[in-house]
């Protein structure tokens, strides 16, 4: 068993973890180690071969793997970043600041001065949505289907129905269609689509794939392999309306019904949002413990990977600052005001810029986002066509922020 002291340890080499390592290395620490459990770094980007990444971070539209390569190139410029793959974080002793990691080389106990958690999210499984029926082969979460098609060179089936109109579901609708799989429909339980308009057009309309809004799957049947999926329309209370059932003879069901932050390893000692399951952090990325930071999908589910890398970089920077100078400024609450559904981060730490990410509670065609601190309005901007499915990013520079609790609201 090896013990290893390190300045900054990053868990996860996806978009957030790589960003965090860059942020920490730039700030100037002796060593940053990233431990990644997969066989390669890059996280989910490796299998997202579609476009739409990097418009903000690199000012170029890139596919997932290209984005990952660019970020990795930056990482390689820093000799003090050590990326280790096939490393599994087994246990964390938060009192002794020890992280136990297993790999084919043995057990390593890291003793980091600060830790950045970038464990990402997992997909909500079939069993999480209580659908009646049987449990045949042929049911995939979108990520698994995507992995097989894009990295393992295998098709999941011949005739598919997709549940969930978030971007992941829409992208898979297109991918499968282009590869010869018949996609019979995309089913969405909300009255509005979950993904970007552009994806509705380029993934569904381009291929004449019908979108059933306000519908959900109410039965899946098949003895050994999937044979039939039944959907029904939902009323205002999201209850299926009897008599509206539609049956589809398909052999494949692709489920894109939500992402859940991976925070369980930390739930006994970090503050976790009881609703979203995300690790609660401040504007610096710091968690409820002063030496642990977190960034990326493990804190809140982001819409754009560019934001993830940026927030990773912020967390890495301040994790390094903590190592160098025990940086720990005053902290204030950030509260949800009117019409705000999801709001991130939860706290503001003095001396940092405030990058707010929010989702409105309901569709708002025309509204103003206002950020107040005590009685001062520190940000106000009109926004059109706000939907809960589209995350909004608001950047308030440090110079505009004083001290005191902050409220964010959206007025209609």
């Amino acid at each position: 068993m090896v013990e290893k002291s390190v300045d900054v340890l990053v868990i996860g080499a996806g978009a957030a973890g790589l960003g965090a390592a860059i942020g920490a290395a730039r700030e100037g620490v002796n060593e940053v180690v990233i431990v990644e459990r997969d066989e390669r770094s890059g996280g989910i980007l490796n299998q997202c071969i579609h476009n739409g990444f990097g418009l903000h971070y690199f000012r170029e539209e890139l596919s997932g793997p290209e984005y990952a390569e660019r970020v990795k190139k930056i990482v390689h410029q820093y000799p003090n970043i050590n990326v280790k793959v096939e490393q599994y974080v087994h246990q964390i002793d938060y009192r002794r600041k020890e992280v136990v990691v297993a790999s084919t080389e043995g057990i390593t106990v890291y003793k980091p001065k600060s830790l950045v958690v970038a464990t990402g999210a997992r997909e909500r499984p079939m069993g999480g949505i209580l659908v009646p029926g049987t449990r045949p082969a042929g049911v995939f979460t979108a990520g698994v289907a995507q992995r097989f098609v894009n990295l393992e060179n295998r098709l999941p089936g011949k005739r598919a129905i997709i549940v969930g109109s978030g971007d992941i579901g829409l992208i898979m609708a297109r991918r499968l269609t282009l590869e010869g799989v018949e996609v019979v429909a995309v089913v969405e339980r909300m009255p509005y689509p979950g993904g970007l308009e552009r994806n509705i057009r380029q993934c569904l309309k381009d291929f004449n794939i019908p979108l059933y809004l306000s519908h959900t799957v109410v039965g899946i049947y098949g003895k050994e392999r999937l044979e039939e999926v039944v959907i029904a329309q939902l009323d205002e209370n999201y209850k299926p309306i009897p008599g509206t059932e539609k049956k589809f003879k398909v052999d494949t069901l692709v489920l894109s019904v939500g992402l859940i932050p991976q925070s369980t390893l930390f739930k006994d000692f970090l503050k976790i949002d009881p609703w979203t399951k995300g690790i609660v952090t401040s504007s610096s990325g710091r968690s409820s413990l002063n030496w642990i930071f977190a960034a990326g999908n493990c804190t809140v589910i982001y819409d754009l990977v560019d934001w993830v890398t940026e927030e990773g970089s912020v967390a890495g920077k301040f994790a390094a600052m903590y190592v160098k100078s025990n940086w720990e400024p005053a902290k204030f609450f950030i509260e949800k005001g009117q019409n705000v559904g999801i709001l991130f981060p939860a706290w503001y730490e003095e001396g940092t810029n405030l990058n707010l990410y929010l989702r409105v509670k309901k569709p708002i065609p025309e509204g103003t986002i206002r950020v107040k601190q005590r009685n001062n309005l520190i940000y106000s901007k009109k926004h059109l066509n706000m939907l809960p499915s589209e995350m909004l990013s608001i950047k308030i520079p440090e110079s505009k922020i004083g001290s005191g609790d902050i409220t964010v609201e959206v007025l209609e």
């Binding site: 071969i49 793997p65 060179n153 282009l178 308009e197 552009r198 380029q202 381009d206």
Partner: protein, 123 residues
């Protein structure tokens, strides 16, 4: 006479456009900037798309390399391009940006690799 409703993707505002074609003339309404007119016109007459897909790799650490067109190409050519990609093979190693197929179907766009694939020589 043709009319199509669409959401412009040129910037995050996402204007709801109505694009009308009558007697060979195209009018775009609902836009808040000239780029919307350009987008609406193109989308009605000759929609263009970036295609992302994969190509078989021989002797690589992965069986497929992800690829894309480096410029948007006419949507109507997509299925033809897919047929070509399905029958294309390349040898590892592959580097991001490598041109797999030059000027596909004379569109002026190349098919380029979007990831690295290292070579493994199977004993």
């Amino acid at each position: 006479m043709r009319t199509e409703e669409m959401v412009c993707i040129m910037c995050p505002l996402g204007c709801h456009l109505t694009v009308r074609e009558e007697n060979g003339e195209i009018t775009v309404t609902g836009n808040r900037c000239p780029r919307g007119v350009e987008y609406g016109r193109q989308e009605l007459t000759e929609p263009l798309r970036i295609l992302t897909s994969s190509v078989l790799v021989e002797h690589g650490e992965l069986p497929l390399v992800s690829v894309k067109t480096n410029k948007p190409i006419p949507r109507k050519l997509i299925m033809q391009v897919m047929e070509i990609l399905k029958n294309t093979r390349i040898e590892a190693p592959v580097r991001v940006g490598d041109v797999i197929i030059n000027n596909i179907l004379n569109t002026g766009a190349d098919i380029i690799a979007t990831r690295n694939v290292e070579r493994i020589d199977v004993a």
